[in-house]
Amino acid sequence: MSGRALVISIIVVAVLAAVPPFLNGYARSLLYITVLYVALAYAWNVISGYAGYLSFGQVTFFGLGAYTTAIAVIRAHLPWWEGALLGGLVSAALAVPLGYLMLRLRGAFFALGMLGMAQTLQVVANSWQLTGGGSGLFLPPGSNALPVYYWTLVIGLLGFATTLFIDRSAFGLRLQALREDEQVASTLGVHVTTTKVWAFVISAIMPGLLGGGYAWYLTYVEPVSAFATRIDLQAVAMTILGGIGTLWGPLIGGVLMSQVSEILAAQYPQAYLMIFGGLVVVLLVLLPRGIAPAISAALERRRARAAQVQR
Protein backbone atom coordinates (compact mmCIF):
# COMPACT_ATOMS: atom_id res chain seq x y z
CA MET A 1 0.00 0.00 0.00
CA SER A 2 1.46 3.32 -1.03
CA GLY A 3 1.91 6.24 1.37
CA ARG A 4 -0.97 8.12 -0.16
CA ALA A 5 -3.27 5.11 0.09
CA LEU A 6 -2.29 4.81 3.75
CA VAL A 7 -3.17 8.44 4.47
CA ILE A 8 -6.50 8.08 2.69
CA SER A 9 -7.26 4.91 4.60
CA ILE A 10 -6.50 6.53 7.93
CA ILE A 11 -8.77 9.46 7.13
CA VAL A 12 -11.56 7.14 6.01
CA VAL A 13 -11.26 5.08 9.18
CA ALA A 14 -11.19 8.20 11.35
CA VAL A 15 -14.38 9.45 9.70
CA LEU A 16 -16.04 6.05 10.03
CA ALA A 17 -15.16 6.04 13.72
CA ALA A 18 -16.01 9.64 14.55
CA VAL A 19 -19.20 10.29 12.63
CA PRO A 20 -21.78 7.68 13.73
CA PRO A 21 -22.67 9.23 17.12
CA PHE A 22 -23.85 12.29 15.24
CA LEU A 23 -25.92 10.38 12.75
CA ASN A 24 -29.58 9.52 13.10
CA GLY A 25 -30.54 5.92 13.66
CA TYR A 26 -31.27 5.28 10.03
CA ALA A 27 -27.97 6.58 8.71
CA ARG A 28 -26.23 4.66 11.43
CA SER A 29 -28.03 1.47 10.48
CA LEU A 30 -27.18 1.98 6.87
CA LEU A 31 -23.55 2.51 7.75
CA TYR A 32 -23.65 -0.56 9.97
CA ILE A 33 -25.04 -2.74 7.24
CA THR A 34 -22.49 -1.42 4.77
CA VAL A 35 -19.58 -2.07 7.10
CA LEU A 36 -21.05 -5.47 7.97
CA TYR A 37 -21.17 -6.55 4.35
CA VAL A 38 -17.73 -5.17 3.61
CA ALA A 39 -16.38 -7.15 6.56
CA LEU A 40 -18.19 -10.28 5.38
CA ALA A 41 -16.78 -9.73 1.93
CA TYR A 42 -13.27 -9.50 3.36
CA ALA A 43 -13.80 -12.75 5.21
CA TRP A 44 -15.12 -14.46 2.12
CA ASN A 45 -12.26 -13.13 0.03
CA VAL A 46 -9.68 -15.04 2.07
CA ILE A 47 -10.99 -18.53 1.36
CA SER A 48 -12.49 -17.80 -2.03
CA GLY A 49 -10.24 -15.10 -3.45
CA TYR A 50 -6.84 -16.01 -2.09
CA ALA A 51 -7.23 -19.75 -1.60
CA GLY A 52 -9.48 -20.16 -4.63
CA TYR A 53 -12.25 -22.10 -2.88
CA LEU A 54 -15.52 -20.46 -3.88
CA SER A 55 -17.88 -20.84 -0.96
CA PHE A 56 -21.62 -20.23 -0.88
CA GLY A 57 -21.90 -21.16 2.76
CA GLN A 58 -19.78 -18.90 4.96
CA VAL A 59 -23.11 -17.73 6.37
CA THR A 60 -22.97 -20.98 8.30
CA PHE A 61 -20.54 -19.26 10.64
CA PHE A 62 -22.49 -16.02 10.67
CA GLY A 63 -25.53 -17.89 11.91
CA LEU A 64 -23.41 -19.85 14.34
CA GLY A 65 -22.05 -16.62 15.78
CA ALA A 66 -25.52 -15.16 16.07
CA TYR A 67 -26.86 -18.20 17.89
CA THR A 68 -23.85 -18.57 20.16
CA THR A 69 -24.22 -14.97 21.22
CA ALA A 70 -27.94 -15.26 21.80
CA ILE A 71 -27.49 -18.37 23.91
CA ALA A 72 -24.58 -16.85 25.84
CA VAL A 73 -26.60 -13.74 26.60
CA ILE A 74 -29.82 -15.51 27.49
CA ARG A 75 -28.52 -18.58 29.30
CA ALA A 76 -25.19 -17.43 30.71
CA HIS A 77 -26.05 -13.74 31.04
CA LEU A 78 -22.78 -12.76 29.42
CA PRO A 79 -22.43 -9.34 27.85
CA TRP A 80 -23.17 -9.57 24.16
CA TRP A 81 -19.66 -8.90 23.00
CA GLU A 82 -18.34 -11.75 25.08
CA GLY A 83 -20.96 -13.88 23.45
CA ALA A 84 -19.83 -12.64 20.07
CA LEU A 85 -16.22 -13.47 20.90
CA LEU A 86 -17.41 -16.90 21.89
CA GLY A 87 -19.24 -17.05 18.56
CA GLY A 88 -15.95 -16.41 16.80
CA LEU A 89 -14.31 -19.16 18.82
CA VAL A 90 -17.06 -21.66 18.19
CA SER A 91 -16.91 -20.86 14.49
CA ALA A 92 -13.18 -21.40 14.44
CA ALA A 93 -13.56 -24.64 16.35
CA LEU A 94 -16.13 -25.92 13.89
CA ALA A 95 -14.14 -24.64 10.92
CA VAL A 96 -11.18 -26.89 11.68
CA PRO A 97 -12.87 -30.28 11.24
CA LEU A 98 -15.23 -28.88 8.63
CA GLY A 99 -12.29 -27.49 6.70
CA TYR A 100 -10.46 -30.81 6.72
CA LEU A 101 -13.61 -32.41 5.37
CA MET A 102 -15.00 -29.90 2.93
CA LEU A 103 -11.76 -28.60 1.45
CA ARG A 104 -11.31 -31.96 -0.20
CA LEU A 105 -14.05 -30.86 -2.57
CA ARG A 106 -13.29 -28.47 -5.39
CA GLY A 107 -15.04 -25.95 -7.58
CA ALA A 108 -18.82 -26.06 -7.71
CA PHE A 109 -18.83 -29.05 -5.37
CA PHE A 110 -17.22 -27.09 -2.60
CA ALA A 111 -19.36 -24.03 -3.32
CA LEU A 112 -22.62 -25.93 -3.19
CA GLY A 113 -21.40 -28.27 -0.48
CA MET A 114 -20.97 -25.24 1.74
CA LEU A 115 -24.40 -24.00 0.71
CA GLY A 116 -25.75 -27.35 1.83
CA MET A 117 -23.83 -26.98 5.07
CA ALA A 118 -25.61 -23.71 5.81
CA GLN A 119 -28.92 -25.41 5.08
CA THR A 120 -28.03 -28.27 7.35
CA LEU A 121 -27.15 -25.96 10.21
CA GLN A 122 -30.40 -24.13 9.66
CA VAL A 123 -32.17 -27.43 10.07
CA VAL A 124 -30.22 -28.09 13.26
CA ALA A 125 -31.16 -24.68 14.65
CA ASN A 126 -34.71 -25.44 13.66
CA SER A 127 -34.95 -28.69 15.51
CA TRP A 128 -32.87 -28.09 18.63
CA GLN A 129 -34.29 -27.15 22.01
CA LEU A 130 -31.25 -25.04 22.92
CA THR A 131 -31.67 -22.82 19.90
CA GLY A 132 -35.36 -22.36 20.48
CA GLY A 133 -36.24 -24.34 17.36
CA GLY A 134 -38.28 -22.48 14.84
CA SER A 135 -39.36 -19.88 17.40
CA GLY A 136 -35.85 -18.55 17.64
CA LEU A 137 -34.37 -16.70 20.57
CA PHE A 138 -35.25 -13.28 21.90
CA LEU A 139 -32.47 -11.12 23.25
CA PRO A 140 -33.13 -8.39 25.78
CA PRO A 141 -34.62 -5.43 23.92
CA GLY A 142 -33.41 -1.88 24.09
CA SER A 143 -29.99 -2.54 22.66
CA ASN A 144 -28.01 0.36 21.35
CA ALA A 145 -26.74 -0.04 17.79
CA LEU A 146 -23.63 2.07 18.30
CA PRO A 147 -21.46 -0.51 20.11
CA VAL A 148 -22.44 -3.10 17.50
CA TYR A 149 -21.39 -0.69 14.81
CA TYR A 150 -17.97 -0.16 16.36
CA TRP A 151 -17.58 -3.88 16.89
CA THR A 152 -18.31 -4.46 13.24
CA LEU A 153 -16.02 -1.64 12.17
CA VAL A 154 -13.16 -3.14 14.15
CA ILE A 155 -13.73 -6.54 12.60
CA GLY A 156 -13.94 -4.96 9.18
CA LEU A 157 -10.60 -3.28 9.84
CA LEU A 158 -9.20 -6.57 11.02
CA GLY A 159 -10.43 -8.07 7.77
CA PHE A 160 -8.65 -5.38 5.83
CA ALA A 161 -5.50 -5.81 7.90
CA THR A 162 -5.63 -9.58 7.47
CA THR A 163 -5.90 -9.15 3.74
CA LEU A 164 -3.01 -6.73 3.79
CA PHE A 165 -1.05 -9.26 5.79
CA ILE A 166 -1.97 -12.06 3.42
CA ASP A 167 -0.89 -9.91 0.52
CA ARG A 168 2.60 -9.62 1.92
CA SER A 169 3.28 -12.63 4.10
CA ALA A 170 4.65 -16.10 3.69
CA PHE A 171 1.23 -17.47 4.57
CA GLY A 172 -0.37 -15.42 1.81
CA LEU A 173 2.18 -16.51 -0.72
CA ARG A 174 1.60 -20.15 0.14
CA LEU A 175 -2.13 -19.58 -0.13
CA GLN A 176 -1.83 -18.09 -3.57
CA ALA A 177 0.53 -20.85 -4.64
CA LEU A 178 -1.98 -23.53 -3.70
CA ARG A 179 -4.73 -21.60 -5.42
CA GLU A 180 -2.72 -21.82 -8.64
CA ASP A 181 -1.72 -25.48 -8.33
CA GLU A 182 -2.11 -27.55 -5.19
CA GLN A 183 -0.01 -30.46 -6.28
CA VAL A 184 2.95 -28.35 -7.33
CA ALA A 185 2.69 -26.31 -4.14
CA SER A 186 2.84 -29.51 -2.10
CA THR A 187 5.94 -30.76 -3.85
CA LEU A 188 7.55 -27.40 -3.14
CA GLY A 189 7.04 -27.95 0.56
CA VAL A 190 3.76 -26.11 1.13
CA HIS A 191 1.62 -27.79 3.77
CA VAL A 192 -1.40 -27.53 1.56
CA THR A 193 -4.10 -28.87 3.83
CA THR A 194 -2.95 -26.96 6.89
CA THR A 195 -2.63 -23.74 4.92
CA LYS A 196 -6.05 -23.89 3.40
CA VAL A 197 -7.69 -24.96 6.62
CA TRP A 198 -6.14 -21.88 8.22
CA ALA A 199 -7.57 -19.72 5.48
CA PHE A 200 -10.93 -21.38 6.03
CA VAL A 201 -10.70 -20.73 9.75
CA ILE A 202 -9.98 -17.04 9.14
CA SER A 203 -12.94 -16.93 6.78
CA ALA A 204 -15.04 -18.51 9.54
CA ILE A 205 -13.96 -16.52 12.58
CA MET A 206 -14.92 -13.20 11.09
CA PRO A 207 -18.52 -14.10 10.22
CA GLY A 208 -18.73 -15.75 13.64
CA LEU A 209 -17.78 -12.50 15.34
CA LEU A 210 -20.00 -10.45 13.05
CA GLY A 211 -23.02 -12.69 13.58
CA GLY A 212 -22.89 -11.96 17.28
CA GLY A 213 -23.23 -8.24 16.70
CA TYR A 214 -26.00 -8.86 14.23
CA ALA A 215 -27.99 -10.87 16.77
CA TRP A 216 -27.63 -8.11 19.33
CA TYR A 217 -28.59 -5.50 16.77
CA LEU A 218 -31.75 -7.33 15.72
CA THR A 219 -32.51 -8.53 19.28
CA TYR A 220 -33.94 -11.67 17.74
CA VAL A 221 -32.41 -14.74 16.14
CA GLU A 222 -34.29 -17.33 14.14
CA PRO A 223 -33.09 -20.02 11.76
CA VAL A 224 -34.30 -18.65 8.46
CA SER A 225 -32.77 -15.19 8.68
CA ALA A 226 -29.63 -16.26 10.58
CA PHE A 227 -28.59 -18.72 7.88
CA ALA A 228 -30.01 -16.77 4.95
CA THR A 229 -28.23 -17.61 1.73
CA ARG A 230 -28.83 -14.11 0.50
CA ILE A 231 -26.40 -12.77 3.10
CA ASP A 232 -23.70 -14.96 1.64
CA LEU A 233 -24.54 -14.33 -1.95
CA GLN A 234 -24.54 -10.60 -1.32
CA ALA A 235 -20.99 -10.79 0.08
CA VAL A 236 -19.95 -12.98 -2.84
CA ALA A 237 -21.35 -10.60 -5.40
CA MET A 238 -19.68 -7.65 -3.72
CA THR A 239 -16.26 -9.28 -3.70
CA ILE A 240 -16.38 -10.49 -7.26
CA LEU A 241 -17.65 -7.18 -8.57
CA GLY A 242 -15.02 -5.33 -6.57
CA GLY A 243 -12.31 -7.73 -7.59
CA ILE A 244 -11.85 -11.22 -6.18
CA GLY A 245 -8.52 -11.93 -4.51
CA THR A 246 -7.59 -8.26 -4.25
CA LEU A 247 -7.05 -5.97 -1.27
CA TRP A 248 -9.50 -3.26 -2.30
CA GLY A 249 -12.08 -5.37 -4.08
CA PRO A 250 -14.29 -6.18 -1.07
CA LEU A 251 -14.27 -2.56 0.04
CA ILE A 252 -15.11 -1.07 -3.34
CA GLY A 253 -17.64 -3.75 -4.19
CA GLY A 254 -19.15 -3.70 -0.71
CA VAL A 255 -19.67 0.03 -0.49
CA LEU A 256 -20.93 0.31 -4.02
CA MET A 257 -23.35 -2.58 -3.88
CA SER A 258 -24.83 -1.87 -0.48
CA GLN A 259 -25.51 1.73 -1.46
CA VAL A 260 -26.94 0.77 -4.81
CA SER A 261 -29.10 -1.94 -3.35
CA GLU A 262 -30.36 0.34 -0.57
CA ILE A 263 -31.32 2.99 -3.08
CA LEU A 264 -32.91 0.43 -5.37
CA ALA A 265 -34.76 -1.25 -2.55
CA ALA A 266 -36.21 2.08 -1.41
CA GLN A 267 -36.98 3.51 -4.85
CA TYR A 268 -38.03 0.48 -6.81
CA PRO A 269 -38.98 -2.25 -4.35
CA GLN A 270 -40.71 -4.19 -7.09
CA ALA A 271 -37.88 -4.06 -9.56
CA TYR A 272 -35.11 -4.25 -6.99
CA LEU A 273 -34.12 -7.86 -7.50
CA MET A 274 -34.33 -7.56 -11.25
CA ILE A 275 -32.12 -4.49 -11.34
CA PHE A 276 -29.67 -5.97 -8.86
CA GLY A 277 -29.35 -9.21 -10.79
CA GLY A 278 -29.20 -7.42 -14.12
CA LEU A 279 -26.44 -5.19 -12.79
CA VAL A 280 -24.36 -8.17 -11.75
CA VAL A 281 -24.73 -9.73 -15.19
CA VAL A 282 -23.94 -6.55 -17.10
CA LEU A 283 -20.98 -5.62 -14.92
CA LEU A 284 -19.57 -9.10 -15.36
CA VAL A 285 -19.77 -8.78 -19.11
CA LEU A 286 -18.09 -5.38 -18.97
CA LEU A 287 -15.61 -5.98 -16.14
CA PRO A 288 -15.10 -9.72 -15.70
CA ARG A 289 -12.15 -9.18 -13.38
CA GLY A 290 -13.97 -6.72 -11.16
CA ILE A 291 -13.67 -3.05 -10.47
CA ALA A 292 -10.46 -2.90 -8.44
CA PRO A 293 -8.33 -4.60 -11.10
CA ALA A 294 -9.91 -2.37 -13.74
CA ILE A 295 -8.98 0.71 -11.71
CA SER A 296 -5.42 -0.44 -11.08
CA ALA A 297 -5.04 -1.27 -14.77
CA ALA A 298 -6.22 2.24 -15.62
CA LEU A 299 -3.83 3.77 -13.08
CA GLU A 300 -1.05 1.63 -14.48
CA ARG A 301 -1.77 2.90 -17.97
CA ARG A 302 -1.80 6.51 -16.78
CA ARG A 303 1.48 6.04 -14.98
CA ALA A 304 3.00 4.45 -18.07
CA ARG A 305 1.79 7.34 -20.19
CA ALA A 306 3.15 9.85 -17.71
CA ALA A 307 6.48 8.07 -17.72
CA GLN A 308 6.53 8.17 -21.49
CA VAL A 309 5.78 11.86 -21.55
CA GLN A 310 8.60 12.52 -19.13
CA ARG A 311 11.00 10.66 -21.31
Binding site: L112, L115, L233, V236, A237, G245, Q270, G277, V281, L284
Partner: protein
Protein backbone atom coordinates in the same frame (compact mmCIF):
# COMPACT_ATOMS: atom_id res chain seq x y z
CA UNK B 1 -41.73 -52.55 9.69
CA UNK B 2 -44.68 -53.63 7.57
CA UNK B 3 -43.84 -54.55 4.04
CA UNK B 4 -46.77 -52.39 2.99
CA UNK B 5 -45.39 -49.30 4.65
CA UNK B 6 -41.97 -49.98 3.21
CA UNK B 7 -43.53 -50.28 -0.23
CA UNK B 8 -45.54 -47.13 0.22
CA UNK B 9 -42.50 -45.11 1.25
CA UNK B 10 -40.58 -46.52 -1.68
CA UNK B 11 -43.32 -45.56 -4.08
CA UNK B 12 -43.56 -42.05 -2.64
CA UNK B 13 -39.81 -41.61 -2.80
CA UNK B 14 -39.45 -42.82 -6.35
CA UNK B 15 -42.31 -40.69 -7.59
CA UNK B 16 -40.83 -37.55 -6.06
CA UNK B 17 -37.44 -38.54 -7.37
CA UNK B 18 -38.87 -38.67 -10.87
CA UNK B 19 -39.61 -34.97 -10.93
CA UNK B 20 -36.23 -34.08 -9.47
CA UNK B 21 -34.66 -36.30 -12.08
CA UNK B 22 -36.09 -34.27 -14.92
CA UNK B 23 -35.00 -30.94 -13.50
CA UNK B 24 -31.56 -32.37 -12.75
CA UNK B 25 -31.28 -33.73 -16.29
CA UNK B 26 -31.68 -30.21 -17.60
CA UNK B 27 -29.01 -28.93 -15.25
CA UNK B 28 -26.74 -31.78 -16.23
CA UNK B 29 -27.08 -31.21 -19.97
CA UNK B 30 -25.94 -27.64 -19.42
CA UNK B 31 -23.09 -28.69 -17.20
CA UNK B 32 -21.99 -31.49 -19.47
CA UNK B 33 -21.58 -29.29 -22.49
CA UNK B 34 -20.75 -25.91 -21.02
CA UNK B 35 -19.09 -26.82 -17.72
CA UNK B 36 -21.27 -24.22 -16.07
CA UNK B 37 -23.26 -24.88 -12.92
CA UNK B 38 -26.33 -22.88 -13.70
CA UNK B 39 -27.50 -21.29 -10.46
CA UNK B 40 -30.52 -19.84 -12.27
CA UNK B 41 -31.81 -23.29 -13.09
CA UNK B 42 -34.40 -23.35 -10.33
CA UNK B 43 -35.77 -20.03 -11.52
CA UNK B 44 -36.53 -21.51 -14.92
CA UNK B 45 -38.28 -24.42 -13.24
CA UNK B 46 -40.30 -22.11 -11.04
CA UNK B 47 -41.07 -19.68 -13.86
CA UNK B 48 -42.68 -22.43 -15.86
CA UNK B 49 -44.44 -23.79 -12.78
CA UNK B 50 -46.00 -20.42 -12.06
CA UNK B 51 -46.94 -19.93 -15.69
CA UNK B 52 -48.71 -23.28 -15.62
CA UNK B 53 -50.49 -22.33 -12.41
CA UNK B 54 -51.63 -18.95 -13.71
CA UNK B 55 -52.84 -20.38 -17.00
CA UNK B 56 -54.72 -23.01 -15.04
CA UNK B 57 -56.32 -20.41 -12.79
CA UNK B 58 -57.26 -18.06 -15.62
CA UNK B 59 -58.01 -20.36 -18.53
CA UNK B 60 -58.21 -23.79 -16.93
CA UNK B 61 -55.45 -24.84 -19.26
CA UNK B 62 -54.17 -28.31 -18.49
CA UNK B 63 -50.52 -28.51 -17.60
CA UNK B 64 -50.08 -31.02 -20.35
CA UNK B 65 -51.05 -28.29 -22.80
CA UNK B 66 -48.90 -25.69 -21.10
CA UNK B 67 -45.89 -27.98 -20.96
CA UNK B 68 -44.98 -27.84 -24.65
CA UNK B 69 -45.65 -24.13 -24.71
CA UNK B 70 -43.38 -23.53 -21.72
CA UNK B 71 -40.82 -25.83 -23.29
CA UNK B 72 -40.70 -23.74 -26.44
CA UNK B 73 -40.68 -20.41 -24.61
CA UNK B 74 -37.90 -21.52 -22.29
CA UNK B 75 -35.94 -22.87 -25.22
CA UNK B 76 -35.98 -19.42 -26.79
CA UNK B 77 -35.17 -17.74 -23.51
CA UNK B 78 -32.24 -20.07 -22.90
CA UNK B 79 -30.83 -19.48 -26.38
CA UNK B 80 -31.15 -15.75 -25.85
CA UNK B 81 -29.35 -15.83 -22.50
CA UNK B 82 -26.51 -17.90 -23.85
CA UNK B 83 -26.10 -15.65 -26.89
CA UNK B 84 -26.43 -12.39 -25.00
CA UNK B 85 -24.51 -13.10 -21.81
CA UNK B 86 -22.85 -16.41 -21.12
CA UNK B 87 -21.07 -16.44 -24.44
CA UNK B 88 -19.39 -13.16 -23.58
CA UNK B 89 -17.64 -14.50 -20.53
CA UNK B 90 -13.90 -14.87 -21.00
CA UNK B 91 -12.86 -18.52 -20.80
CA UNK B 92 -9.12 -18.06 -20.42
CA UNK B 93 -9.39 -16.28 -17.10
CA UNK B 94 -8.11 -18.22 -14.13
CA UNK B 95 -11.28 -17.23 -12.31
CA UNK B 96 -13.53 -18.34 -15.17
CA UNK B 97 -15.43 -20.77 -13.00
CA UNK B 98 -16.11 -18.08 -10.42
CA UNK B 99 -17.26 -15.64 -13.07
CA UNK B 100 -19.67 -18.07 -14.65
CA UNK B 101 -21.08 -19.04 -11.27
CA UNK B 102 -21.55 -15.40 -10.40
CA UNK B 103 -23.17 -14.62 -13.70
CA UNK B 104 -25.74 -17.36 -13.30
CA UNK B 105 -26.24 -16.13 -9.75
CA UNK B 106 -26.99 -12.67 -11.14
CA UNK B 107 -29.39 -14.25 -13.61
CA UNK B 108 -31.10 -16.09 -10.80
CA UNK B 109 -31.67 -12.84 -8.88
CA UNK B 110 -32.92 -11.23 -12.04
CA UNK B 111 -35.46 -13.94 -12.65
CA UNK B 112 -36.64 -14.09 -9.06
CA UNK B 113 -37.34 -10.38 -9.44
CA UNK B 114 -38.95 -10.85 -12.81
CA UNK B 115 -41.24 -13.62 -11.59
CA UNK B 116 -42.19 -11.57 -8.54
CA UNK B 117 -43.17 -8.70 -10.80
CA UNK B 118 -44.92 -11.06 -13.18
CA UNK B 119 -46.64 -13.57 -10.95
CA UNK B 120 -46.54 -11.77 -7.55
CA UNK B 121 -45.16 -13.51 -4.50
CA UNK B 122 -48.20 -15.73 -4.07
CA UNK B 123 -47.71 -19.39 -3.47
CA UNK B 124 -49.44 -21.33 -6.18
CA UNK B 125 -50.19 -24.86 -7.14
CA UNK B 126 -52.46 -26.56 -9.63
CA UNK B 127 -55.33 -28.70 -8.33
CA UNK B 128 -55.19 -31.22 -11.13
CA UNK B 129 -55.32 -34.94 -10.54
CA UNK B 130 -55.11 -34.44 -6.80
CA UNK B 131 -56.45 -37.90 -6.02
CA UNK B 132 -54.79 -41.25 -5.64
CA UNK B 133 -55.26 -44.68 -7.09
CA UNK B 134 -55.17 -47.59 -4.75
CA UNK B 135 -53.23 -50.62 -5.77
CA UNK B 136 -53.56 -53.30 -3.16
CA UNK B 137 -52.22 -51.84 0.06
CA UNK B 138 -50.58 -48.92 -1.74
CA UNK B 139 -51.94 -45.60 -2.75
CA UNK B 140 -50.41 -43.97 -5.76
CA UNK B 141 -50.87 -40.24 -6.07
CA UNK B 142 -52.27 -39.47 -9.51
CA UNK B 143 -50.40 -36.20 -10.05
CA UNK B 144 -47.18 -37.74 -8.87
CA UNK B 145 -47.58 -40.67 -11.14
CA UNK B 146 -48.39 -38.38 -14.03
CA UNK B 147 -45.36 -36.23 -13.26
CA UNK B 148 -43.24 -39.33 -12.94
CA UNK B 149 -44.46 -40.77 -16.20
CA UNK B 150 -44.17 -37.46 -18.03
CA UNK B 151 -40.68 -37.02 -16.62
CA UNK B 152 -39.87 -40.46 -17.86
CA UNK B 153 -41.20 -39.62 -21.31
CA UNK B 154 -39.28 -36.36 -21.51
CA UNK B 155 -36.17 -38.12 -20.24
CA UNK B 156 -36.65 -40.88 -22.81
CA UNK B 157 -37.13 -38.31 -25.57
CA UNK B 158 -33.97 -36.61 -24.38
CA UNK B 159 -32.11 -39.90 -24.35
CA UNK B 160 -33.33 -40.62 -27.87
CA UNK B 161 -32.34 -37.18 -29.03
CA UNK B 162 -28.90 -37.64 -27.56
CA UNK B 163 -28.46 -41.13 -28.91
CA UNK B 164 -30.03 -41.21 -32.31
CA UNK B 165 -29.83 -37.76 -33.82
CA UNK B 166 -26.93 -35.88 -35.31
CA UNK B 167 -27.53 -33.02 -32.90
CA UNK B 168 -27.56 -35.41 -29.97
CA UNK B 169 -24.29 -36.94 -31.07
CA UNK B 170 -22.82 -33.49 -31.47
CA UNK B 171 -23.94 -32.60 -27.93
CA UNK B 172 -22.48 -35.75 -26.46
CA UNK B 173 -19.32 -35.38 -28.49
CA UNK B 174 -18.86 -31.82 -27.27
CA UNK B 175 -19.42 -32.75 -23.65
CA UNK B 176 -17.08 -35.74 -23.85
CA UNK B 177 -14.29 -34.10 -25.76
CA UNK B 178 -14.34 -30.49 -26.78
CA UNK B 179 -11.09 -30.68 -28.73
CA UNK B 180 -12.28 -33.72 -30.63
CA UNK B 181 -15.57 -32.07 -31.44
CA UNK B 182 -13.80 -29.00 -32.75
CA UNK B 183 -11.54 -31.14 -34.88
CA UNK B 184 -14.54 -32.90 -36.40
CA UNK B 185 -16.01 -29.58 -37.38
CA UNK B 186 -18.82 -29.66 -34.85
CA UNK B 187 -20.25 -26.16 -34.59
CA UNK B 188 -19.52 -25.91 -30.91
CA UNK B 189 -21.06 -22.46 -30.47
CA UNK B 190 -24.30 -23.74 -31.87
CA UNK B 191 -24.14 -26.86 -29.74
CA UNK B 192 -23.61 -24.72 -26.66
CA UNK B 193 -26.53 -22.51 -27.45
CA UNK B 194 -28.75 -25.46 -28.18
CA UNK B 195 -27.65 -27.25 -25.02
CA UNK B 196 -28.31 -24.29 -22.81
CA UNK B 197 -31.64 -23.79 -24.53
CA UNK B 198 -32.44 -27.47 -24.17
CA UNK B 199 -31.44 -27.52 -20.51
CA UNK B 200 -33.63 -24.51 -19.87
CA UNK B 201 -36.50 -26.03 -21.77
CA UNK B 202 -36.25 -29.25 -19.77
CA UNK B 203 -36.24 -27.17 -16.62
CA UNK B 204 -39.45 -25.57 -17.78
CA UNK B 205 -40.98 -28.95 -18.53
CA UNK B 206 -40.11 -30.18 -15.07
CA UNK B 207 -41.62 -27.00 -13.62
CA UNK B 208 -44.95 -27.76 -15.28
CA UNK B 209 -44.95 -31.16 -13.58
CA UNK B 210 -43.56 -29.96 -10.27
CA UNK B 211 -46.50 -27.64 -9.82
CA UNK B 212 -48.79 -30.66 -9.70
CA UNK B 213 -47.01 -31.78 -6.55
CA UNK B 214 -45.55 -28.78 -4.77
CA UNK B 215 -46.74 -25.34 -3.84
CA UNK B 216 -44.24 -22.77 -5.05
CA UNK B 217 -43.64 -19.05 -5.28
CA UNK B 218 -40.91 -17.12 -7.11
CA UNK B 219 -38.49 -17.49 -4.24
CA UNK B 220 -38.49 -21.27 -4.00
CA UNK B 221 -36.23 -21.67 -7.03
CA UNK B 222 -33.03 -21.90 -5.01
CA UNK B 223 -34.32 -25.06 -3.32
CA UNK B 224 -34.92 -26.64 -6.69
CA UNK B 225 -31.45 -25.69 -7.88
CA UNK B 226 -29.88 -27.19 -4.79
CA UNK B 227 -31.87 -30.38 -4.93
CA UNK B 228 -31.10 -30.78 -8.62
CA UNK B 229 -27.44 -30.19 -7.98
CA UNK B 230 -27.47 -32.72 -5.19
CA UNK B 231 -29.00 -35.21 -7.62
CA UNK B 232 -26.34 -34.73 -10.27
CA UNK B 233 -23.57 -34.62 -7.72
CA UNK B 234 -24.75 -38.04 -6.59
CA UNK B 235 -25.14 -39.36 -10.10
CA UNK B 236 -22.02 -37.77 -11.50
CA UNK B 237 -21.68 -34.47 -13.33
CA UNK B 238 -22.24 -35.02 -17.01
CA UNK B 239 -23.55 -38.54 -16.42
CA UNK B 240 -27.13 -38.73 -17.62
CA UNK B 241 -27.90 -42.26 -16.53
CA UNK B 242 -26.41 -41.47 -13.14
CA UNK B 243 -28.83 -38.58 -12.81
CA UNK B 244 -31.74 -40.98 -12.71
CA UNK B 245 -30.09 -43.07 -10.04
CA UNK B 246 -29.19 -39.96 -8.05
CA UNK B 247 -32.77 -38.75 -8.21
CA UNK B 248 -34.11 -42.08 -7.02
CA UNK B 249 -31.65 -42.09 -4.12
CA UNK B 250 -32.59 -38.55 -3.13
CA UNK B 251 -36.29 -39.26 -3.43
CA UNK B 252 -35.99 -42.37 -1.28
CA UNK B 253 -33.83 -40.57 1.25
CA UNK B 254 -36.42 -37.81 1.60
CA UNK B 255 -39.24 -40.28 1.91
CA UNK B 256 -37.61 -42.62 4.43
CA UNK B 257 -35.93 -40.06 6.64
CA UNK B 258 -39.17 -38.09 6.59
CA UNK B 259 -40.92 -41.08 8.04
CA UNK B 260 -38.35 -42.55 10.36
CA UNK B 261 -36.70 -39.34 11.49
CA UNK B 262 -38.32 -35.95 11.16
CA UNK B 263 -39.29 -33.64 8.36
CA UNK B 264 -36.34 -31.49 9.36
CA UNK B 265 -33.95 -34.33 8.76
CA UNK B 266 -35.67 -35.09 5.47
CA UNK B 267 -35.10 -31.52 4.37
CA UNK B 268 -31.39 -31.76 5.11
CA UNK B 269 -31.08 -35.29 3.74
CA UNK B 270 -30.20 -34.40 0.14
CA UNK B 271 -27.33 -32.18 1.23
CA UNK B 272 -25.99 -34.49 3.86
CA UNK B 273 -26.17 -37.35 1.40
CA UNK B 274 -24.50 -35.31 -1.28
CA UNK B 275 -21.69 -34.18 0.98
CA UNK B 276 -21.12 -37.71 2.25
CA UNK B 277 -21.08 -39.21 -1.21
CA UNK B 278 -18.69 -36.57 -2.48
CA UNK B 279 -16.32 -37.16 0.35
CA UNK B 280 -16.35 -40.89 -0.18
CA UNK B 281 -16.61 -40.94 -3.96
CA UNK B 282 -15.58 -37.59 -5.41
CA UNK B 283 -16.87 -38.44 -8.88
CA UNK B 284 -20.36 -39.34 -7.70
CA UNK B 285 -22.04 -42.67 -7.11
CA UNK B 286 -21.65 -43.93 -10.65
CA UNK B 287 -18.59 -41.91 -11.60
CA UNK B 288 -15.27 -43.58 -12.02
CA UNK B 289 -13.39 -43.01 -8.82
CA UNK B 290 -10.26 -40.98 -9.42
CA UNK B 291 -6.67 -42.06 -8.83
Amino acid sequence: MHAALFGQLTIDGLLVGGVYALSALGLNVIFGVMRIVNLAHGEFVIGAALLAAVLFERLHASVLVVLPLAFVLAFGLGALIQRAFLRRLPTDLASAEATSLLMTFGLSYFFVGAWLAFFSGNFRSVPYLTGAWTLGPFSIAQARLLAFVASGIVAALLAMLLRYTALGRAIRATSQNLQGALACGVDVERVRTLSFALGTAIAAASGCLLILIFTVNPETGANVTLASFAVIALGGLGNYAGTLVGAAVIGLAISFTGYFATAQVAQAAPYVLFILVLLLRPAGLLGKSGA
